[in-house]
Amino acid sequence: MSRQGRPQDTRKVSGELFSLTYGALVAQLVRDYEKDEEVNQQLDKMGYNIGVRLIEDFFARSQQGRCHDFAQAADVLTKVGFKMFLGVVPTVANWSAKGDEFSLILDQNPLVDFVELPETHQGLLYSNIICGVIRGALEMVQLEVKVWFVQDQLRGSDSTEIRVKFLKKLEDAVPAGED
């Protein structure tokens, strides 16, 4: 068994299947769709569906309770969520004045370890699935948010920045016949 002894490597190894599969998926989509925008949308959509399930797994693993504050939510999202699944902890930064908007800054993004964007697809938001996941996950905890890429290492920026905007607090569904 020639497993590398380096501990952070083992995470990589186990993460490889995921990032490679994701890569294959993106490449496939790029082949299938004409426009990069369509691909980005598709990725976001898929991300959403994943987020919806992933959040459950997250709560199952962590003892987290529901957040009643956006800042707190951001904190949990990065320190627990990202750490747990991607093994990285983005820094939360650039809070908007209204406190309803913040940026996740990843200086290292496991998804793009091996990726090099082809010149012909500079419009592609390779990791856009993350946005979808965040959106889906937060929606499950009654937070409607907008998530989008601000900058991407793949496109030359030195760090990856994802912007999250709080839209509104959703209510529990009211059963029929109640007011």
């Binding site: 797994d57 009654q142 059963p175």
Partner: protein, 140 residues
């Protein structure tokens, strides 16, 4: 301990799963009605509590005791609601319900690719795992 039955609701009032073990009495109405009624009651109790609380509106419902049975309630941050009825001898079973959620529901429903979110749970595997768990609880 005696466990009568278990309801699992999702955030949109629909009962994803119902299972009874030693239920002694029927409500005398169609199941679907019963589910609606149960969800309604839970919903009202929640709002009752959140209003009556003098500390904050975050108050969570834990359950209630009636003369002959006890209702236990557990809700996930994502709005899944687990309602379990037992005999009155039973103490706090929050962790039991949590276990059902984290170790059984998530494992075999959420992570079951075939089960679509919001659909009624018909995974035999889930049912089996749940039953095993409940069974050996009952012996304790």
């Amino acid at each position: 301990m005696t466990i009568y039955n278990l309801y699992i609701f999702d955030r949109n009032c629909s009962c994803l799963y119902y299972k009874e073990w030693t239920r002694q009495k029927e409500a005398g109405i169609p199941r679907e009605e019963e589910f609606k009624l149960m969800y309604g009651m839970i919903f009202s109790l929640k709002s009752l509590i959140s209003r009556l609380s003098i500390i904050s509106a975050k108050e969570g419902l834990v359950g209630y005791t009636a003369s002959n049975y006890k209702l236990h309630y557990f809700e996930t941050p994502t709005g899944f609601k687990f309602v379990m009825n037992t005999d009155t001898s039973v103490g706090n079973v929050q962790d039991v319900l949590r276990h059902i959620y984290a170790r059984i529901f998530v494992e075999y429903v959420v992570r079951n690719p075939v089960a679509r979110p919001g659909e009624h749970v018909d995974s035999e595997l889930f049912a089996a795992k749940l039953d095993d768990y409940i069974q050996d609880l009952s012996f304790k």
